[in-house]
């Protein structure tokens, strides 16, 4: 890229400044927390369950998950590296102190609201702005829920999972753990035992959710693992779009985040799940970032149902997640659109699983990986077409863009086909931003930064197109900020 060695030196210096640009959302809000001491045993689980006033069956479920978890080995197969996690040094419950459940925003701790404002998520404005209802999760307890009445009018249940356990125990009992069983994997087992809160959505039959539902996750109190549990059930013929976005304050210690998301779509239902993830990625040497070990899975239980995952992953020190679809119903559809950016010392092992069981099921996978500096990125995906999945169809595309010569991009697709009528295509490419592309843009007066940003945005366009409008803008901005200083 550089014409002369002097240029190279100058450019390097210039990028150094940019590389050092700090994490924008790094701050800790000081709120008194009601926190359990670090450590994990059955008493801790009982305490969590008791504090949350859960029904008896939940405690039993948690305990059995915990007992099974104790016997599970830590997964080692992902190509990510991190020191062993001491599960006894984590505090498993942290609730912002509250007198009574807040009835409106006025009752919410003003410090909390201030934090949201710092993040550029003005809750008041969002209330006014049509379309988005926010169930903001600050650490582990929901403190602000809006638009509940409006949703209640059409019968949509949108609340924290703790509330749901008290108000709709029959739905929880029926669906929780039915997509991601407690024994599914190590981190899902841990989550099942200790999850503190999360979101529950139920969309009744033949209902189109009138607005996009959104939860902003926040990680706050130092040393607190965050174990969220999300359960979305779309009953026959319904539709819901759910947005999840995250930022986190800067801190020194690694923080474990092991969430579980379960989606269930019955006949003719559709769930669209979008994520923008921008947790603290750690400093230049990778210290202190979030470990994001998430299990996300959707079950297209009904015929003609559809589940669509869209994710933009720019944060976290380590990302380990595979939003998956089980295409059980005939003619069901699964989609996965992903943009993942790793820079600094970030590591990401992400992808999807599409399990075709029903007839004429189809799935689409579009994965775009961008790796810069020392970023390590792997796409790991499974497409399985079972013997009975007559006429199943899959198209997979995974592209990687490398920026710099110390980063890595890996592709590990697994394809298992047991039906002759299946049509399966997979393609993958790896490339860098070509000098020609850059030269073209720069000769038209764009700065190198802008040119790169433009090319990268073009590279990701297919995925951004799948995001809801507000999120798409945010995601583009996030991508530009993430890549600031990573180019050169």
């Amino acid at each position: 890229m550089s014409a002369t060695p002097e240029d190279a030196v100058r450019e390097a210096g210039q990028y150094d400044d940019l590389v050092k640009s700090e994490y924008e959302h790094g701050f800790v809000t000081e709120i008194e927390s009601d926190t359990l001491p670090p450590g994990l045993d059955e008493d801790v689980i009982r305490a969590i369950s008791q504090r949350k006033g859960e029904p008896e069956f939940m405690l039993e479920w948690r305990l059995s998950a915990y007992r099974k978890w104790l016997e599970m080995p830590t997964p080692k197969w992902a190509s990510v590296h991190y020191p062993p996690i001491d599960f006894q040094s984590i505090s498993y419950f942290s609730a912002p102190k509250k007198k009574e459940g807040p009835k409106s925003l006025d009752e919410v701790d003003p410090l909390l609201l201030e934090t949201y404002e710092k993040l550029g998520i003005p809750i008041e404005e969002q209330k006014a702005l049509a379309g988005v209802a926010v169930d903001a999760v600050f650490d582990s307890v929901s403190v602000a829920t809006t638009f509940r009445e409006k949703l209640a009018e059409v019968g949509v249940i949108f609340c924290s999972i703790s509330e749901a356990m008290q108000e709709h125990p029959e739905l929880i009992k029926k669906y929780i753990g039915s997509v991601v069983p407690a024994t599914d994997n190590f981190y899902a087992g841990l989550n099942s035992a200790v999850f503190t809160d999360g979101t529950f959505v139920y969309v009744p039959k033949n209902t189109r959710c009138p607005m996009e539902l959104s939860t902003y996750f926040r990680i706050n109190t130092a040393n607190t693992g965050q174990f969220e549990r999300t359960l979305i059930v779309a009953d026959e013929g319904s539709y819901v779009s759910y947005l999840e976005g995250c930022t986190a304050p800067q801190r020194d210690e690694n923080q474990l985040h092991a969430a579980v998301v379960e989606l269930i779509a019955l006949d003719d239902a559709e769930i669209k799940y979008s994520t923008v993830q921008n947790w603290y990625p750690g400093d230049e040497e990778g210290r202190g970032g979030i470990y994001n070990f998430v299990t996300k899975r959707g079950d297209c239980r009904g015929a003609r149902s559809k589940i669509s995952w869209t994710q933009v992953e720019t944060g976290s020190a380590i990302t380990w997640k595979y939003p998956s679809c089980i295409l059980r119903g005939d003619d069901s559809v699964g989609e996965f659109y992903s943009v993942a950016v790793t820079k600094g010392r970030q590591q990401a092992d992400t992808g999807t699983k599409m399990i075709h069981l029903g007839k004429r099921t189809s799935s689409t996978i579009v994965s775009k990986g961008i790796s810069a500096q020392h970023g390590q990125q792997s796409y790991r995906g499974l497409v399985r077409i079972a013997g009975k999945a007559e006429g199943a169809r899959n198209h997979t595309q995974c592209d990687s863009l490398l920026i710099g010569d110390k980063c890595a991009a890996n592709t590990f697709p697994y394809i298992e086909v047991k039906n002759p009528s299946a049509k399966m295509e997979h393609e993958a490419t790896t490339s860098k931003i070509s000098d020609d592309q850059l030269f073209y843009c720069r000769s038209r007066g764009l700065s190198e930064e802008d040119a790169v940003s433009m090319i990268v945005n073009g590279f990701c366009k297919e995925v951004f197109n799948e995001l809801p409008m507000e999120f798409a803008v945010e995601a583009q901005k996030l991508l530009s900020i993430s890549l600031e200083g990573a180019v050169g």
Binding site: W77, I385, G387, S400, L402, I403, G404, D405, K406, C407, A408, A409, N410, T411, F412, P413, Y414, I415, E416, V417, K418, N419, P420, S421, A422, K423, M424, E425, H426, E427, A428, T429, T430, S431, K432
Partner: protein, 452 residues
């Protein structure tokens, strides 16, 4: 006499493994072969320790995820002990390729059979012989080749071969030697009264600028039951060119394991065509390494897995140096209860800038109970590279069949035509008319006989 080598036979076995039987008696064998070469004895002792330490791969072992070993272990193979002398030139008639003009080398049950070879008019600078005799006469010629390219190998079967090798082919081309006519190597297997495993070790070296075409064919007499666990080590010097054709079409009861380890020098070219028509169970590992820049490695393959057959191709191409290119183009046709596994890995190290790598795997499934598992992988640590992979799995379009049938062509013939069309690109890559016709005929026959 090496004490270490002796231990192979006499040392009490720590824990009995499923493949211990494969090695019985080899200690004495290698002493007879190696004549007390200490380096070789050490390699073999180490290999034996690895076999005992590793045990058998299971379904949890990543490289064996889709390839079950149970049927192989159940056979409880014993090593081939005596060279089979009963085979005469007439027995070869059935397995020859009509019209193929080539120098001919024959190995029977893994043993070099000089009486069946036709190598009189090989040009100067080409040396062909058996591993056993070469080690006895001129071991120095092999010291930088034998076990030096495969190293520890990629799995337990390479170690088994190192510990249990009894003979094999040695082909050494001096610097600048050019062989105009292809060299055909027939690996003939003949079943014995009980299940036997042969573990031949083949060594090929092309000196700087040497050129050759090597046609390897794995064939068997009748429907014999046996296992071949072979390892090939190939070293290409600077500017050397090797065209390598490997045809595997063995008895429906045969088990076949090959590990091909290649090291390419600067600016060398390797063009390999692998045709796998099977046996009962076949596993091939192609392990490609570059030792110099600007080398090209081109791998092409066709596999046809029919009833109850398993064909597994594993590829591991590692770009550690800049400016090399590699291509893998594999196609598969799976019918009946056949199962095909394709696992390709292209690894590009941080310094391997300007690497050009492309991998493609396309599969046709013809029946309900057939299965294809494919896993094309890229691991890339350099930015200025061009890498891609693609894979497809599909069936013959009913419209195409209908078109042909509406013109009066019967279904089996139509299917044969379409499959040969699909496979044509690979068959053409053989670049030898006699061989192309022979393979096309074999593929066509197999497809026509297969139940629809």
């Amino acid at each position: 006499m090496s004490a270490a080598a002796k231990n192979i036979a006499t040392e009490p076995q720590a824990q009995p493994g499923p493949f211990d039987g494969w090695l019985r008696g080899t200690g004495d064998d290698i002493d007879a072969v190696a004549g007390g070469l200490s380096w070789l004895a050490r390699e073999r002792t180490d290999a034996l320790a690895r076999v005992r330490g590793q045990g058998a791969p299971t379904a949890k072992t990543e490289g064996w995820r889709y390839t079950g070993l149970r049927s192989l272990i159940e056979q409880d193979f014993r090593p081939v002990d005596e060279p089979l002398t009963a085979v005469v030139a007439d027995d070869l008639e059935d397995v020859l390729v009509p019209g193929l003009d080539a120098h001919r080398i024959v190995l029977v049950n893994g043993r070099y059979a000089p009486e069946l070879c036709v190598t009189d008019d090989l040009p100067k600078g080409v040396r062909v012989g058996g591993l056993r005799e070469t080690l006895a006469q001129d071991p120095d010629a092999l010291e930088d080749l034998l076990t030096r390219i495969a190293g520890e190998g990629s799995h337990v079967f390479a170690s088994l071969n190192t510990a249990g090798m009894d003979d094999g082919l040695v082909m050494l081309l001096e610097r600048g030697a050019v062989v105009e006519r292809p060299i055909e190597v027939i690996h003939l297997s003949v079943g014995m009264d009980e299940p036997r495993v042969a573990q031949p070790r083949h060594l090929v070296r092309l000196g700087d600028g040497a050129q050759a075409e090597l046609i390897e064919r794995y064939v068997s007499l009748g429907e014999s039951l046996y296992c071949t666990n072979s390892v090939l080590e190939i070293a290409l010097g600077r500017d050397a060119i090797l065209k390598h054709r490997r045809l595997q079409s063995e008895s429906p009861n045969a088990f076949h394991i090959t590990g091909l380890y290649l090291r390419q020098g600067e600016n060398s070219r390797y063009h390999g065509v692998n045709i796998g028509l099977g046996g009962a169970w076949a596993r091939t590992d192609l392990i490609m390494r570059f030792a110099g820049e600007h080398a090209e490695c081109d791998l092409v393959g066709l596999y046809l897995a029919g009833d109850k057959q398993l064909i597994d191709y594993h590829m591991d191409v590692r770009h550690a140096l800049p400016n090399c290119s590699s291509r893998e183009t594999f196609k598969g046709i799976v019918h009946g209860k056949g199962k095909a596994v394709f696992d390709g890995l292209v690894y590009v190290a941080q310094d391997a800038q300007k690497t050009d790598a492309a991998m493609s795997n396309r599969n046709l499934i013809l029946s309900d109970s057939a299965e294809v598992d494919t896993k094309p992988q890229l691991e890339i640590y350099a930015d200025d590279v061009k890498c891609s992979h693609g894979t497809t799995v599909g069936q013959i379009e009913p419209e195409m069949l209908f078109y042909l049938r509406s013109r009066g062509i019967s279904a089996p013939i139509a299917r044969r035509m379409l499959c040969l069309g699909f496979a044509g690109e690979i068959i053409d890559a053989l670049g030898n008319q006699a061989l192309q016709d022979y393979v096309a005929e074999q593929v066509g026959q197999r497809l026509e006989q297969a139940p629809i």
